[in-house]
């Protein structure tokens, strides 16, 4: 069977799987960005209890493997009364795992804002909340976006794991086709290619565009 007839027969199935992969990517990215901001802010809090909670969260999720977390969310959590759909369990596990890494980036970004900015805001009598929101946060974007971009590419790759908990994504479809047809080179090769195309030609350019945008905004002096 040549490659084109393989594509004609299974291409649409792989594309359907790709759509699910993109859905997981988008939902998990939204979730991890939110978690990163919340826990990143908690990490720089002056309140040691809040800081402690964030530290435990981050160490816990960075210390155990994503696959273990995913299986735990999927197979074990229901016994504690929380039964997430496979898709949701996948998104939540990935989001919470990457949120832990993202929180550290956010923390680094906040601490990297020059001291003068903090002092300036203090001198102008801004409340801590206002200082964060109006002065510090806008400035951290150009600092954190490059590492966030790397992390998001890692997240795209990590979405492949949801296939192992019955989510019908690109990896799952490739596995299924392999199981039925044994055209391993074609189905896994095509899957690799699709991930590569998503990353190289869509995700990375988009993230670079965000970086440029953020740098320009701060450069313009919008505070």
């Amino acid at each position: 069977m040549n490659y084109f007839s393989f594509l004609a027969e299974h291409g649409s199935t792989l594309l359907l799987g790709t759509v699910t992969t993109l859905k997981v990517l988008i939902c998990a990215t939204i979730l991890y960005v939110i978690i990163s901001i919340i826990f990143g802010l908690m990490r720089v809090s002056n309140n040691s209890a809040i800081q402690g909670i964030a530290t435990v969260y981050i160490e816990f999720f960075r210390g155990t493997s994503l696959l273990v977390q995913l299986f735990w969310f999927y197979y074990v959590l229901p016994f504690f009364g929380i039964s997430l759909e496979a898709f949701t369990a996948g998104v939540v596990a990935i989001g919470m795992n990457f949120g832990a890494y993202g929180a550290e980036i956010v923390r680094g970004g906040i601490l990297a804002v020059p001291k003068g900015q903090w002092e300036g805001a203090h001198a102008l009598n801004f409340s801590p909340f206002k200082r964060m929101k109006n002065i510090i946060i806008p400035q951290i974007f150009p600092i954190i976006l490059p590492p966030v971009a790397n992390l998001t590419v890692e997240l795209l790759k990590a979405t492949a794991l949801v296939a192992l908990v019955t989510v019908v994504d690109l990896t799952f479809e490739a596995k299924q086709i392999n199981a039925i047809t044994w055209l391993s080179a074609q189905c896994f090769g095509t899957a690799l290619l699709i991930y590569y195309i998503i990353s190289r030609f869509f995700l990375v350019p988009f993230l670079r565009w965000l970086e440029v945008l953020a740098a320009r905004k701060v450069g313009r002096g919008k505070i």
Binding site: I30, L31, Y75, S83, A86, T166, V168, A179, I180
Partner: protein, 281 residues
């Protein structure tokens, strides 16, 4: 910032609300308009999914025939790794296990079975010509061959029972893993269901052959049932009633399941009941 917090709240609520599944019984779930979820692995010709996720294989065909008898025509499919089937139904990931599971004592402790839908045996898959002369577990031990089978398969238990040492065992994910290991020469012999082995023999164009199932220990003959959650007794009983009707007049079922190789020889004898298998197997 308030707006921001609010939108986070909304997002989290949405995420968790789509998903919180109530602990209702299957009968109630179906009444609420949920679709019945069939859980199975990828085991041709027993049960597997088609390109669009549709349920294929003879166990699925039998289950669907019975469900239609019960008036249930809608379902969705969940494809698991074999070892995840029972943990999956217990974690409320599926409603019925149609993977084609043998009724075994250890499984009965974790899942309820329907009445048997058929009787089946295991066999070994060996390279053509059977160069090492392996027909059963004793031969495996004698020749020191590497034996591959699926994680969570009944054959793991059986191999241990007949004394195959762990060092000779190789556990992989399901039928796919078994054939992959055999094709690549990572294992010398595979043990699986006779049907699964037949399928692999056909798929590889005679590169491998199936040993005579009669040369396997007699006790490896097993009955297969459909699995239900321990709490869904009522549904299981209704299923059994419909199954009995189908078995009494099996023409339709045999036609549908026959496409996958199931035939009259598989119809379960009355002596091999679920209670019998649960207590002796």
């Amino acid at each position: 910032m308030n707006k921001f917090l609010k939108s986070i709240g909304v997002f989290l609520v949405i995420i968790f609300s789509i998903s919180s599944v109530s602990a209702a019984t299957l009968t109630e779930r179906l009444k609420d308009g949920h679709k019945l979820r069939l859980g199975f692995g990828t085991a041709v010709p027993w049960a597997y999914a088609g390109d669009n996720g549709e349920a294929l294989g003879f166990v699925n065909m039998i289950a669907l025939t019975v469900l239609e008898e019960m008036g249930i025509t809608e379902h969705e499919t969940k494809v698991f790794e074999w070892s995840g089937l029972i943990p999956g139904i217990n974690a409320n990931r599926s409603d019925m296990v149609t993977g084609g599971m043998y009724i075994l004592k250890s499984r009965c402790e974790n899942m309820n079975f329907s009445d048997p839908i058929g009787v089946f045996g295991d066999a070994m898959l060996v390279p053509k010509g059977n160069p090492k002369g392996i027909n059963n577990y004793a031969d495996v031990i004698r020749t020191g061959a590497k034996l591959v089978t699926g994680a969570g398969f009944n054959t793991v238990e059986a191999a241990k029972k007949y004394g195959v040492p762990d060092s000779q065992m190789m556990l992989v994910e399901g039928e796919v893993g078994i054939l992959a290991a055999m094709k690549a020469g990572r294992a010398d012999v595979a043990v699986q269901t006779f049907f699964g082995a037949k399928e692999h023999e056909a798929k590889t164009g005679g590169k491998f052959e199936v040993t005579d199932p009669k040369l396997m220990p007699k006790e490896t003959l097993n009955v297969v049932g459909i699995g239900f959650r321990k709490t869904d007794v009522e549904f299981r009983d209704n299923f059994n009633k419909a199954l009995a009707k189908v078995m009494a007049n099996p023409a339709t079922m045999l036609k549908r399941a026959g496409e996958y190789g199931y035939d009259k020889a598989q119809l379960p004898p009355p002596s091999m009941s679920t209670e019998w298998a649960c207590s002796t197997k």
